[in-house]
Symmetry: C2
Subunit: 456 residues, 2 copies
C-alpha cells in the first residue's frame, strides 16, 4: 500500500494547485448569473477525471446544472463497488464586504486555504479524485470498482439528481456510497456522521398596497406587509425554540435512551462552541441538550428577510412588499413535502385578507445511517490509521439531500467521512479548508478503499 | 390686483422651466452621498430669490443641511408679516426600477410634472416665491411684509431648524405662518389642513452570532436575530392595528364629538381611495372610521426591514444581523421623545439576552391648529376665489415637524394651504405634481397676501 500514499505525498503541491483552479470557478448554483460558471466547473471536473485515467466520463444535463459521472470498473466481480458522491456547486459568497480576501481567489493563510467552496465541498470531493489518481498512477489499478457522481445542485436541493437516480439504477449500482461533505470533531479528531437533518425551505412573499405608500398619509388605513410578515413569523416558533406549526412534530422519531446517552457523551466543549459562534449565549429548546438541538432536533430559521426602504437613514413608507426565506431542518421521519404543506396551510390560516401571499418551496429528506456495517468499520480503521485517533460517531445538523435517497432507491449504506473542521465558516464569509486535512484526506481515502476490499 | 396675476399668467412657461431646474437637483437629505446636491439646492434657491428682488438672502449652516432665509419688509408697520415655510429636501427615490422616468429628470405627461420633490415640496414652496416675484415685478412692492425660511431637513426630522428657531426669534417674528406642503381633496377641491400627525422613528439593530452561520450546523442552538426581530415587531402592534407599547396612548387627546362629526362629513370616497392604494382591503382599528385612522389616530409601521440573505434563491444561513426601521405617527398631545423612550423600554423588556440590541431615533411633534382665525378666513377666501369651490377643513396623516414649533416658540398661527393632490405619489415612485395646481397655487398665494392685508 505504500506506493499510492507515496505518490500522493510527492504530488501534494500539484494537487493543491489543481484545487485552486477548481476553487476559482464561481459555481454558485442558486444565482442565475452564475449558470455558465457552474457549467464550467462541471467541465473542469470531467477534464480532470479523464486526465487521471477514469473512464466513461460523462455529464448529464438536468433542468439546472449538469451531473458529472465517471468510473473505473476493472477490480473484478468479487471486489466491492463504491459510489463516491460530492458536489461542485457552492453557496453564494455574499456579503462580500466581510471576506478578508476575495471568495473566488483562493489564498493560504496559517495552513488554511480561504475560498468559497474550499470545505463545502470542492476541497472534500477532490480528495477522492486524487486518491483514485494515486492508485492509477502508482499501481495502474484500484483495489475496488469505483464510480463518481458529482452534482451541481446540492446547495439548492438536488432536484436534478433526485430525478436522475431512479432512472439510472444500473449506472449507479454499488455496494456502498462514500461522501466527504461533513466536518471532523476538531484537528486530528475524525468523526463518522450517522445522522443528517433534512431541509424544507419556503419563500414567502406578502403584498399589501400596489406601491410603497406614504406612511403618514395612508398609515392606519392599510395593512403593512412587513408587520403582517412579522406576525406570521412570530407565530411559527416560540421564543424558546418550539415550532408552532400544527402537526410539525407528528413524525419526529423520539430519541432513544441509547442515542441520548451516546450524544450526552459527545465531547462538545459548549463554552468554546459559543465563543466560535460569537453569539451572546447558547439558546434553544430547554428540554434538549445543545448537541441534540443542533443535530437531532428539527428547527425553523428565517434565513433572509427584506422589505421597504433598507438604505441609509429613514424613508417614511408603508411598503408594498415583504419577502422572507424560511429554512426548516428536519429529522427522521419528517417529510419535506408534508412539512411544506403544513407550513403553507398554517400561514394561510394566519394571514388576514388585507394582504396577499404567495409561497413556494422545496426540500430534502433527513437520514439516519446504521453505525454497524463493514464500510463503517473500514472507515473507522482508515481514519484511525491516518490520524492516530479513534473516530467518534455523531449526528450532523446540516443536510445532504441525496443520502436518504441512496438508502431508499439504491439500497446503499453511506459512509460520511468528513475532512472539514468546525471553524471552516461554510456558508459564511471567509470559508476555509485546513490544508493538512486535504492531504490527510487523500491518505485516508487511499486506506479506506484498500480496507474496504479486505472487509468485504 | 389684476396686475400681479397677469404677470404670473404671462410668465407661466418661465416659472415651469425654473421649477424643472430646481427638480433636477437630487437633494436627498437622508443619504450622505447627496450632501453636496442638497447644498446645491439651497444655493440655487438663494440665487432665485435674489434675482426677483427679495432681500437679506442668507443661508445658515446647521449640523447637516443649510437653512435658506430671505425677506421683504417694506409694507409698513401696520401691514401684517407673513413667514413662508417650505423645504427643498426630498425623500430617497428608491426603488428606482419602479419609476417610469428618472426621478431627477422632470417630464410632463398628462398635465403632471413627474419628479421626486415635485409635489413634496419643491413645487409647492416655489409657488410662493413666484407669487412674491409677481408682486415685485408688477407693483414694485408686496401688500404684506414677507419672510421665507426654507429648510433642507424636513424629511429627516428638521433638527437644524428646531435648534435655529429659539435662537432667531426676532429674525423669524411674524403674525402668521404660511405652509404649502399638503394636498387638496381632489382636482378643484381646496382643503385647509388644521391637524398634522407627529412622527417618532426608531432604527432597531439586533445582533445574534458574530457572523452569518450555517443554519444546519448551528440552527437550534443560537437565537436567530430575524426571528427575534419578528417577535418584537409582532408585540408592538396587534393584528387589528392597536399599538401594544405600554403607555403609548396615555397622552392621546380623545376626539371630541364635534370633531368626529366634522370628520364623518369629510367627503372621502373609500372605494376610490382603496383602488388608489392598490391594497386588497381597507384595514385598521375597528373602533374608528377610515378618515380618523389615517389622520387623527396614532399609528406604527415598519418602513423597512432587512437581514440575512436577500439575493436570488436560497442560502441556508442563520444571520448575524437584523435591521428594522419603525415609524410611529403621533397625535396631540403625544411627545416623540417620550414615545421613543417607551418604545425602547418595551423593546428591551421583550428581547431576550440571547441577542443584542441597539436603537436610535428621533421625531417631531403633532399639531392642531385653530380653525377660526383671520389668516384661516383669508386662506379660505383666496382658495374659493381661485378654484370657485369652498375649502374643506381636514386633518392630515403626514407630519410637518416645524408646525408645532411655530405655535409654541413663535406664537404663530399657521395656514396649511396645500396644492398637492391625493394621487401625487409623494414618498413613492413616480411622484408628480399637477401643473394646473402650480399655476393656480401662484394665483391663490397672490390673492391670499392681499386678503390677509385687508383682514388684519
Amino acid at each position: 500500500m505504500s506506493s499510492p500514499i507515496e505518490y500522493a505525498y510527492n504530488n501534494r503541491s500539484n494537487h493543491l494547485a489543481e484545487l485552486f483552479e477548481f476553487l476559482r470557478i464561481p459555481s454558485v448554483s442558486t444565482q442565475p448569473g452564475h449558470k455558465e460558471d457552474t457549467a464550467r466547473a462541471a467541465t473542469w471536473l470531467t477534464e480532470s477525471m479523464k486526465r487521471i485515467g477514469l473512464e466513461n466520463v460523462h455529464t448529464f444535463a438536468t433542468d439546472r446544472h449538469p451531473l458529472v459521472y465517471a468510473d473505473w470498473l476493472h477490480a473484478g466481480p468479487e471486489a466491492p463497488t463504491v459510489l463516491v458522491y460530492g458536489h461542485y456547486d457552492v453557496q453564494p459568497p455574499e456579503p462580500l464586504e466581510l471576506w478578508d480576501s476575495p471568495p473566488f481567489e483562493p489564498v493560504i493563510r496559517d495552513d488554511y486555504v480561504y475560498a468559497r467552496g474550499s470545505s463545502d465541498d470542492k476541497g472534500q470531493v477532490y480528495i477522492h479524485i486524487k486518491a483514485a489518481e494515486a492508485y492509477l498512477k502508482a499501481n495502474g489499478r484500484l483495489p475496488v470498482n469505483l464510480k463518481f457522481i458529482i452534482e451541481g445542485e446540492e446547495e439548492i436541493g438536488s432536484e436534478g439528481l433526485h430525478k436522475f437516480i431512479p432512472q439510472h439504477r444500473d449506472l449507479l449500482a454499488a455496494d456502498s456510497a462514500l461522501v466527504s461533505d461533513t466536518a471532523m470533531l476538531g484537528r486530528g479528531k475524525p468523526a463518522l456522521v450517522y445522522g443528517l437533518r433534512g431541509n424544507c425551505h419556503i419563500l414567502v412573499d406578502i403584498t399589501g398596497p400596489g406601491r410603497d405608500l406614504h406612511s403618514g398619509t395612508y398609515g392606519g388605513g392599510i395593512n403593512n406587509p412587513l408587520n403582517a410578515m412579522s406576525h406570521l413569523i412570530a407565530r411559527l416558533k416560540d421564543e424558546r425554540g418550539h415550532i408552532l406549526i400544527p402537526g410539525f412534530y407528528d413524525r419526529v422519531r423520539p430519541l432513544t435512551v441509547g442515542e441520548r446517552e451516546l450524544l450526552a457523551n459527545f465531547p462538545l466543549d459548549e463554552a468554546a462552541w459559543l465563543v466560535e459562534t460569537g453569539a451572546p449565549e447558547i439558546w434553544g429548546e430547554p428540554e434538549y441538550s445543545l448537541v441534540e438541538r443542533i443535530s437531532a432536533r428539527p428547527t425553523l430559521d428565517v434565513t433572509g428577510l427584506i422589505g421597504g426602504y433598507t438604505g441609509e437613514g429613514t424613508k417614511t413608507v408603508l411598503p408594498s412588499h415583504a419577502h422572507a426565506k424560511i429554512s426548516m431542518r428536519l429529522v427522521p421521519d419528517q417529510d419535506p413535502k408534508e412539512i411544506a404543506e403544513l407550513f403553507q396551510q398554517f400561514a394561510r390560516s394566519i394571514l388576514p385578507p388585507s394582504v396577499k401571499v404567495t409561497m413556494r418551496g422545496g426540500g430534502s429528506k433527513p437520514a439516519l445511517i446504521d453505525r454497524d456495517t463493514p464500510p463503517m468499520r473500514a472507515a473507522a480503521a482508515a481514519y484511525e490509521a491516518t490520524f492516530h485517533h479513534p473516530a467518534v460517531f455523531m449526528r450532523e445538523g446540516g443536510s445532504i439531500p441525496v443520502v436518504n435517497q441512496f438508502e431508499s432507491d439504491l439500497k446503499l449504506p453511506t459512509v460520511l467521512m468528513g475532512f472539514g473542521l468546525p471553524g471552516d465558516h461554510i456558508h459564511s464569509p471567509n470559508e476555509r479548508f485546513y490544508v493538512p486535512n486535504f492531504f490527510a484526506g487523500i491518505e485516508t481515502s487511499i486506506r479506506y478503499l484498500e480496507l474496504l476490499r479486505q472487509t468485504e
